[in-house]
């Protein structure tokens, strides 16, 4: 199944770093996404976009994951040549991931 069936997500930007939250609709799915959606898997999924490290933070209080992708915004939101300089649409790509 696609992550979109059980999660929602939002992207934020700081400089050349993009962060993507992954939030299950039902908190009971938190353990499943912790197991399936690793930092390595996200790094591989965004291999053409993120040239740096991917760090995954587990936010147990709200049962959500936060992926922090370095060197992911074309050199930085203010100087990127991309259409979507902020990477706002990256969350929707993550939700297309099959698990």
């Amino acid at each position: 199944m696609k992550l979109k069936e059980i999660c929602h997500s939002r992207t934020g930007d700081k400089g050349d770093i993009s962060n993507i939250s992954l939030i299950p609709w039902n908190e009971s799915d938190y353990e499943l996404i912790k197991e399936k959606v690793t930092a390595e898997k996200v790094k591989d999924y965004f291999s053409e976009i993120c040239r740096g490290k991917v760090t995954r933070y587990e936010v147990d209080g709200i049962c959500a994951l936060n992926f922090v992708m370095e060197e992911a915004l074309g050199g930085g939101v203010l100087r990127s040549l991309a259409m979507d300089k902020h990477g706002k649409a990256l969350s929707m790509a993550l939700l297309e991931m099959e698990i």
């Binding site: 929602h8 053409e48 209080g61 203010l78």
Partner: protein
Amino acid sequence: MKKIRIGGGAGFAGDRVDPAVTLIEKGNLDYIIFECLAERTIGLAKQEMLHDPTKGYSRLLEYRLSQTLKPAKEHGVKIITNMGAVNPHAAVAKAIEIAKEQGISGLKFAAVTGDDVYDVIEKYYDEPIFEFPGKIGDYRDAIVSANAYMGAEGIIRALADGADVVITSRVSDPTLTLAPLCYEYGWTIDDAEKMGQCVLAGHLIECGGQVTGGYYADPGYKEVPNLDDLGFPIVEFDETGRFIVTKVEGTGGVVCVDTCKEQMLYEIHDPSRYLTPDCIADFTGVKFTQEGENIVSAWGATSHGLTPTLKVNVCYRDSFITDCEISYGGCNALERAKLAGDMFIKRLDRIGIEYTETRVDYIGYNSLYKDKLAEYMSDGRWGEIRLHVAVRTKDRANAVKVSNEGDSIYTNGPAGGGGATMRISEIINVFSFFIPRELLAARVEYEVI
């Protein structure tokens, strides 16, 4: 219980103004904040001030205050905003001019500064740049502005001195919300949990509608009623440090646990160490509960003391970007767009345009996610494709040459290209470094009408 209500009246410089008026008139607010100062906005404001010393504040300040000053005065709502950018004194002067035009009197205005280190930047030329290799001094001829993210000190002093409208230069975004709460309740850095809650509240409302259903709606997945009338958020605190997030009844949008979760992690890296000038906030233990329709309570944030340094953002003149676009339709649209893109880059080399970086996108196919993910998501059929070529040059003269080539794609490119557009942008970029916090102190000056 002493309750304090703060409205999030703007989430960026150009944000909608009418929801802020609704907040002031119907939100039963004590304070409204306007967060209007993105990273490079201050560099753009500085360039404006160099041309005209009476400018250098947020470009929409005049319109925003012309709509909100009078209702704020009538409803006893204090305004706190970073619309001062690099020139809070000029911003206060403009605000007073607006107030006088509208027959408003009995207001005390505060200009809060102390963040500007541009005049002493040469002392830091040997400091390393945080984001990429190099030293500050490497950019000495290109630096436009240098401003530290200040904490709550100046705003708290202004409120203690009775200011009704507080206009700051660079402060951290959550500070706009944290400062009035610390003033009202007397909280300090020793109140770890309360400071954490203040930063959380500030973070949730600093982007305006992003916690009330903006940047959220996804038909069939995430429904948001009346998005056209999206209301802006309110946080209501009591002295325990717990707060609720809500909005004015009858406005569009939705405040639910999931909008709050999304916004809590927005632009956050390590949620256990969110660095602000007021404290190191920790959101890992936060819980949200739906208390009623469009009412969510939040608790569990805390903090871990102060960082020894403050972050300074330096804006510098980086480069020029020329964007050229043109559309192709029909079954072979992608192939013709690719032919045009390939031709365009070859032509730049053929005529000797000096550029440092290029990017070619096919909008409708790969402009958001590049080729691998585009292929993964696509069904292989496109009725129309828009070519986008972006070219970075060091100077405007070469940018103009690129733009001229964009215009030539019509008659010198593939069949059926339509709707060509060209745009040249001067790029002000930002880097940062850190300086000891004891070197900077807030300054507050007042005007009364």
